[in-house]
């Protein structure tokens, strides 16, 4: 397979001479080279990622697809600094993440990453507004945090549900709260692992639409694992994982206008 040519402003380059060549942005926030991840369960070693290269640039919109068990969640965990690679090189803004202590990784995660999960994981004792504030609750800036949380909830269309508890919200509304929560720390990247997995088709489509809007409005890169076809159209790139290897990377970057939105 031939590497794809640089398409636009030269931010793309070849990923070297790996078997799975990929286009990786040069100004990547996080980038990985020949990343391997193994799990050990019951004395058996499972190789979930078998040497993949990746990179996420600012305001990227990347869809990760592939069959179940192909390593999509594993890849997202590495991107989100929730886990460390068994081998290979993962760098956050040029810094080798394997040198980070747990404390540093936690701090970087807070500064850089937002998470959206398939099962929302909202805290049932907190209202929508408080759930959005939650990542910043220990920051002792309650007034600023509340302002921003309110703004984000309004942005995702829940301005009238601020004081509702999670069990008073529909699945789509819960996921919107979760998306607002993922943005409260002004991250560079939002990682979403099958965010539409528990939603019906229409609701899921609207959630993905929201992601597409947000990554431009909020200047945040979005990496989402999905089975949804809609994403294939919306995403800049579609990364297909099969059995721990990247099989193809489809770049649709050219479909979007570059530069600041009006």
């Amino acid at each position: 397979m031939a590497p794809e040519p640089n398409e636009d402003d030269g931010r793309w380059q070849e990923a070297g001479d790996h078997a799975t060549s990929e286009t990786i942005p040069t100004d990547a926030i996080i980038r990985g080279t020949d990343v391997v991840k193994e799990y050990e369960t019951g004395g058996q070693i499972v190789r979930a990622l078998k040497g993949v290269d990746f990179g996420i640039a600012p305001a990227d919109f990347v869809a990760v697809v592939g069959p179940s068990g192909s390593g999509k969640s594993t890849l997202l965990n590495l991107l989100g600094l929730l886990d460390v690679a068994t081998s290979g090189d993962v760098r956050l803004r040029g810094r080798d993440v394997s040198t980070f202590t747990d404390r540093e990784r936690t701090r970087k995660r807070k500064e850089t990453i937002g998470f959206v999960f398939q099962s929302f994981y909202l805290i049932p004792t907190l209202t929508a507004l408080e759930n959005v504030e939650m990542p910043r609750m220990l920051d002792r800036t309650p007034t600023k945090t509340r302002q921003r949380a309110r703004q984000l909830l309004e942005r995702v269309g829940l301005g009238d549900r601020l004081d509702h508890y999670p069990d008073e919200l529909s699945g789509g509304q819960k996921q919107r709260v979760a998306i607002a929560r993922s943005l409260i720390n002004d991250p560079d990247i939002v990682l979403a692992d099958e965010p539409t997995g528990n939603l019906d088709r229409d609701t899921g489509d609207r959630i993905l639409e929201l992601f597409d809007e947000l990554r431009r409005d909020e200047n945040v890169a979005v990496v989402t694992v999905t089975h949804d076809d809609y994403v294939a159209e919306a995403a800049d790139r579609v990364v297909t994982l099969i059995d721990g290897r990247i099989r193809e990377t489809e770049s649709r970057r050219a479909n979007f206008e570059e530069g600041p939105d009006p």
Partner: protein, 390 residues
Amino acid sequence: MAMSWLRRVTGRFPSVVIARRNISRARTRSLLAAAAIMIGVVAIGAIGAGGAAFKESQLDRIQEQGATNVYVSPGFDKEDRYFDRTDLMRIDETVGGAGIVATESRSMEYRVRSNRQRSLSVTYLDDPRRLHEVAVGEIPANWRRSAVVSSEFAAEYDLEPGDRIVLAPETDEGETAEFRAYRVTAVLAETQAFGVDQVYLPIEATGDRRYGQVRITTESVEEAEAAAAALREEFNGRKDTLIVFELTSLVRLFKSIVNGINVFLAGLGSLSLLVAGVSIANTMLMSVTKRREEIGVLRAVGYSKVDILRILLVEATLLGAIGAAIGIALALLVVLAANAIFLGSPFAFTSGSILYLVGAVAFGIGTSLVAGAYPAWRAANERPVEALRG
């Protein structure tokens, strides 16, 4: 605005807010855990502080009865079973400035009427005023053939100064008693003090100036202890020439017995706190197991291990604090009652009882903190990837 003010305050202590919400989530379970702590706190607080009040009341009684006095009598190794003038001088020298009063006690027959007599205890001494206060009448410098009687005795036999009482030394079976009349010259004031005899006679009346007991009066419990120690050192080096008895040693014995019992009972109370600790640990373990994913999310969005640890410890502590607060309120009621019964006023808290109450609260909260440590540590160290693998 009140709301925003409240928010600013609670915003300062977010872990408390989070903890409070979590506690109210599983209300029944939380209440049961807090109730266990409450029982422990009540047990320790009520037993300890109530016991302290009881001890104080008994101590007061002993003090009143002359804990500043030291009593000395001839020891088993003393050849003569009495003190003579030389002995008294040596004792006087040994105790320095303290006032000494030598007495001799004997049983006598008191003839109430010509056909009725009873046995009573008589104290011979130089001057009764050095031991007791006089209520009516007076004691002449030379009070030979006079008697001084206690107020009780005077009341019982309707005596007043000027009356005569007829006494005889106790005799063995068969011997005839030699009765002599004494004029009552004074009646002593009523007193609670320990060791007040019924009738006092001048030492000359014994005929031999031998004393069976010496009382040493000091100004304070410490002086009494010092005097007793000096006497023991001077007289009881190799042989037990003196029996030295001071109420302070009784006080000390009593204190150590009551303290021992109190500590033992409060220790039983602490056992109930141990059970409470198990309950808190169990509650917290269930809670963190149920919230495994939630804690995983907290970790994912940037809460450090220490943050999680703190939140959960605050939660356990809050559970304990709720239990301890209710417990101390109940314990206070018990102690107020104990104070009222033993010390005459519900608010007569002794430093000992306050110590027990404070200790009970501290112990209750401390138990919760320790009990919450393991669940909190386990939850904080769970890898978020594992928690979130669903």
